[in-house]
Amino acid sequence: MTTKKRYLRVTHLLFIVLLLIQLIPDKSTNPTFTGALIAFAAGLELIAFIASTFIKKEQGLALLLDIVGFIYVLLGVWSLATAKFNVLNPLLFPAPGEVIHQFAEDKQQILINIGSSLGTTLAGFLIAVAVAVPLGLFIGWSARIGSAATYITKFFSSIPPIVYIPYGIALLPTFKSVSVFVIFLATFWPVFAGTMSGVLGVDKRIIDSAKVLNVSKPEMLFSVILPASLQQIFLGCNQGLSVSFILLTSAEMIGARDGMGYYVKYYSDFGDYTRTITGLLVIGIVVIAVTFLFNKLQSHLLRWKR
């Protein structure tokens, strides 16, 4: 990459446009915290420059700069529609500066809520994976049961997990345990189904190759069948993970005392839409971050595939 290609990007032009927009006098009478917005954008710009210097792969850098550019456009349009020209209802739609300011104010509270949401999700998700994968390997490998198990799994995975909530509430002591239970069910079936279809789909030649090496039964399951079906297992995990987030935030909006779903619901009840929007954006960012990390893990574990 040439220096020109590295540093002369549309993204930086968009940053300047965003700053110019901020020169337009506010029409909104609410405090708009333009300073917070500028500080936030400047922070992003700093990250973009540091990344331009250190990221070696052109594709990766282009992706990052495109995302940053998109955020600038979003912030620009958003401030035009709110603070600058008052197009949207100022009660329902706070200016971007307000949301950034609010986030800084509530940082502590938001972090605690994120921690609570993530803890619940991860607990349900990890328990489900830890149970579903060995069970799927074992049952899938005993092929005869495997065929019946496919239909049983299809039946259970077609039931939306949210309908288990009443039973969870009736059977389990705390809201936390109900959430973990529901996320467990939401993750268990897709991961179990993925593992089984992975096992049933393992190339016979790979199994023959392992058999002539005289592998023991545990080795066959965990050193051969498990890695050979890993891609399918990850398909199930991805499905489980995205359903988990949807479920958890909905569940938190119903009856939790903490978590990001609770944060959004609680403040929208008071008509505090600045905090509501802040919560929504934070949920989006957290979900993207977790998915990103999970995909990283997936491509690391499947690096042997072309």
């Binding site: 030649r205 890695p227 042997w304």
Partner: protein
Amino acid sequence: MTTNKIEIKDLTVNYIENKRSFNALHDVSFGVGRGEFVSVVGASGCGKSTLLSVLEGLYAPAGGSVQIDGKELHGTGTERGVVFQHYSLFPWMTTKKNIEFGIKQSRRGIKRGEREKIADEFLRKVGLAEFGGKYPSQLSGGMQQRAAIARALAMNTEILLMDEPFSAIDPKNRIILQELLLKLWEGDGTEERKTVVFVTHDIDEAILLSDKIVVLTAHPGTVNEVVNVPFERPRNRADLVKTDEYGKFRSRILSLLNNDVAERIGGDEVVL
């Protein structure tokens, strides 16, 4: 006769496909001596790969017997190393890890450090010293088969079973691999040679490598003839193919194969 390493007697194998049973092999009998290199050749569908599956222990015969060192064969065993045409290596392990895994299976009790040393040694022997850290998908087909051979040899089994190991390799690399195998198997005479059963449809490959060629005919697979290869070892391809004897011998094997084809198509009017 009783000194044979592998003794196959009246072997009959049925294959079930679409609920119909096929007689894949019928009354096949031959022996493989200790340290002998035996090729099994035949047209496709003659059951030569099925025969090897039985020797590998992956397929149970319907009748007859296979004995190794006088003992009836039951399932897979650590005294046999196998090289397949595809997927001998596990795609999720690096080349070196694949070899180490093989050593771990066949030579229990060898420590990790020792396994690594043996793996490195055999990678070097097949010319893959630099490629131990690569995954199979990062290697060419020829390099994958080199690694598979390295693993089979590193496992130090008494018997080596090879199922068309070079069939999917381009002609130029196939010749290189044949010569590598020949060199590794013939050795320098200090070590005892391994007993090899090698399945192929390439006659030149069979002649170059083998002490003995078993010609199979199809439908059902039966032994047409077992031919001793008369050429001295160590062999050299370039010198060997120049001789008249080679040409004559090659024609003989070819006619043994083609007899069968001519009969099946319908008599002596067919010119091949």
